[in-house]
Symmetry: none
């Protein structure tokens, strides 16, 4: 019996190790054991979210697995976890891409993040001077 | 050279077809063919969203297909289409369930809907006197 249990545990560990990277998901405890996280991200051309029409909008869920229409849900969730949902800290924690040089052209792009992160409401808005400046952030969260 | 290029293109297509479902991302049609729709819905106990901690939060996308962590994404999207995203019209269009009788106990439940519906920003909040009253709405949008 003890051996069987040990073998089952080993198999479970192996399954996690094998399936984890394939699905790109973060394995969490069963439902109810974690606070909800569900976000909508938008990007639009303009100065502020109030005036800019959203050109694209994606969903992102990070628990129990990384999912949503965000094209890089797994890395976006990893970044959110790295800053514990504090989007203002994104740049200081992740840094910027040194290989990107942008012009100073003003053609503003506004991104928003709304919803819930680990049980706390999130409402974030940030305007970049142009698309290149947005892309220079070393983050995949805003790349959609 | 041409053959190599063709083979590379075929391989890329195969990779997309094989990896798509594994990564759990919804592949959208080329951007620009339809206005984006992506929503986050929350439910919490309290008078207003400002004070209530979200107990549950789900995502909902209705184009190109109904998806998200909402447990009844297809019917929730059908309801949103029926009222063209006008959440205030939900009750008059869908009606209430006649078979549900609720007490007048005041134990408020607040639901929110945030994000984008067909390219327009949505920010909706509604408080029900109690869980039963919320359930008496003939709608699966708020049932999660």
């Amino acid at each position: 019996m003890r051996n069987t249990a040990r073998r089952a545990a080993t198999l479970a560990l192996m399954a996690t190790a094998v399936c984890g990277p394939l699905t790109g998901t973060a394995h969490a405890a069963p439902s109810g054991l974690y606070a909800p996280s569900a976000l909508v991200l938008t990007v639009g051309h303009g100065d502020s979210a109030a005036t800019a029409t959203p050109a694209r909008a994606v969903t992102l869920t990070c628990a129990p697995t990384s999912s949503g229409t965000h094209p890089a849900a797994a890395s976006a969730c990893a970044e959110l976890r790295a800053v514990d949902g504090d989007l203002d800290a994104l740049e200081s924690v992740l840094g910027s891409r040194g290989d990107v040089l942008c012009t100073k052209e003003y053609d503003p792009v506004v991104v928003t993040v709304d919803g819930v992160w680990r049980g706390q409401r999130v409402s974030y808005e940030r305007t970049f001077a142009n698309e290149c400046v947005k892309g220079s952030l070393g983050s995949s969260l805003f790349t959609f």
